[in-house]
């Protein structure tokens, strides 16, 4: 292996509760989650010398440093974009540790995304007016992305009821995950089909992720150091990004065939090449879904089924806990909470450790995909 991968591990994870009104500052959420990650790893603040978060995170690195009493930071980086950068945070932390730029990197993401600035509301995306999208009525993420999903659903004959079959599984997983917002609240396909339209005939209410308050954090250090720490280390086998010519994070309308999420295919190729693994080696897939159709595009893009076949793959029972490929075992961002996809990395760690609420027995390889960034986690 020629890459810098395979030399780092995730050694600690921490999170707050996921709610609709945290009642405390975003900085406090970041600090609480980070403190929990340190305790989980058995590390002290003085062990941390790097930090990574989202470009969109409101919490200044130095404020988090001050809260935690970290003496000195030597590495900071921020992942661009929104949720598409979730696994890019891990790549940045991994690159820093593997290169020697930092010894242990704290990654955090914390926000009051329901009680504070809501992502799902019109007006959150401040662009100049007129523009090429919002002026025409694409004023919420549901509408912005639905224009793209429409092409996918049209091309492959996917119906909203097909989407519902994924949501039922995600909510089944959330129902048995005590940390999930929808703990103890499974739904039926009928419940899904009776929820109100958000963008008819593409998305219903239950196809949309949560707007959540909460914080999550994890710590990346070297494989050598990981062996001496409190928890079974989780090796980072791959963590990478893919951004293709002509693409766009939110308004991805301007190139080629929109029914195929090209970046997912490209990022898979990178990861299968660098690890020697393939789709059949993945025991659990955590697939970022701000809206349910992404799961379908991701199942196909990563090669778990052929283009257009995700609806049948799901219908045939493959993505449940007893299926061939359990998907979003935490309930996903629809069921557990939307901490911008970073909560899926924590679930990946728990699956490899064997400590997940919905544990897949003997899980050895977990894919954590945010479509334009993705990672594969494995045992130390």
């Amino acid at each position: 292996m020629t890459s810098y991968m395979d030399r780092t591990a995730i050694v600690g994870i921490g999170q707050t509760e996921f709610s609709k009104a945290s009642g405390r500052s975003e900085l406090q959420l970041a600090a609480e989650a980070s403190k929990a990650a340190l305790a989980d790893a058995g590390l002290t603040p003085a062990d941390i010398d790097g930090m990574v978060t989202f470009q969109l995170d409101s919490n200044d690195e130095l404020d988090v440093q001050r809260c935690l009493g970290i003496p000195e930071l030597r590495w900071t980086a921020r992942a661009p974009f929104g949720g598409a950068g979730a696994s890019a945070c891990l790549q940045m932390a991994t690159a820093a540790v593997a290169s020697g730029a930092a010894k242990a990197v704290l990654v955090y993401r914390a926000f009051n995304e329901r009680s504070g600035v809501r992502f799902g509301q019109p007006g959150t995306y401040q662009l100049r007016f007129p523009d090429f999208h919002i002026a025409y009525g694409l004023d919420t993420p549901a509408k912005i992305y639905a224009l793209w999903y429409q092409r996918y659903m049209h091309k492959y004959g996917v119906t909203n009821e097909d989407l519902g079959r994924y949501v039922v599984v995600a909510r089944e997983h959330a129902a048995t995950n005590p940390a999930a917002w929808y703990y103890n609240k499974p739904i039926t396909l009928q419940d899904h089909q009776q929820s109100r339209w958000i963008v008819e005939p593409i998305l219903r209410l239950l196809d949309c992720c949560q707007e959540s308050d909460g914080g999550v954090a994890f710590i990346v250090t070297s494989v050598e150091r990981a062996k001496d720490l409190r928890q079974p280390g989780v090796r980072v086998l791959a963590a990478t990004q893919s951004h293709l010519q002509g693409g766009n994070i939110m308004f991805d309308y301007y190139r080629g065939e929109l029914a195929d999420f090209s970046e997912i295919g490209a990022i898979s190729k990178q990861m299968w090449n660098s690890t020697g693994l393939g789709p059949d080696d993945i025991d659990v897939a955590l697939l970022y879904e701000n809206f349910s159709p992404v799961v379908f595009m991701a199942l196909e893009g990563h090669g778990f089924c052929k283009p257009g076949e995700a609806k049948d793959f799901i219908k045939d029972g493959n993505i449940g806990m007893k299926g061939k490929l359990p998907v979003n075992t935490n309930g996903g961002l629809l069921g557990e909470g939307y901490i911008h996809g970073v909560n899926n990395i924590l679930e990946g760690v728990r699956q490899i450790r064997g400590s997940a609420a919905n544990q897949v027995p003997g899980a050895e390889h977990v894919l954590v995909s945010a479509s334009r960034s993705a990672a594969i986690l494995g045992k130390l």
Binding site: A135, G137, W197, V199, G246
Partner: protein, 124 residues
């Protein structure tokens, strides 16, 4: 100064303009300072015919406000090969289909003149 200023000046004059590279003639949309094909900074506005077809579409409507007037938002593939997000008017939402032939017109919406599309008249 923004890269798309020419586009809105065109719209205000009832013209649909796209950037065309002076070096390799490639059209681009959305606007940008450099040609993605040949990296030339030299371009000029090209007046589009204003005809195209529907590639994808949704109905934009506030889910909680049933009195809200809906708009069909369509991704239009123009005859010149570039795509543009716009609205489709004078056509029932349930009958929109891929490949529907459309033509541009201009209308002031919320105080701003915008390119809009309607089904192409026969012979256009």
């Amino acid at each position: 100064m923004h890269d798309e200023d020419f586009f809105w000046e065109g719209v205000n004059n009832n013209q649909l303009l796209f950037q065309r590279c002076n070096e390799c003639n490639t059209l681009r949309q959305p606007p940008g300072p450099m040609c993605p094909q040949c990296q030339s900074l030299n371009w000029q506005p090209h007046a589009a015919k204003g005809t195209g077809t529907v590639y994808a579409w949704i109905v934009s409507k506030h889910p909680n406000q049933h009195t809200d007037e809906h708009r069909i938002v369509a991704l239009i593939e123009l005859s010149e090969g570039v795509r543009l997000v716009s609205n489709l008017q004078d056509f029932p939402a349930e009958q929109v289909h891929e490949g529907l032939a459309v033509e541009v017109f201009f209308q002031e919406i919320n105080g701003q003149k915008l390119p809009q599309f309607r089904p192409a008249r026969a012979g256009v």
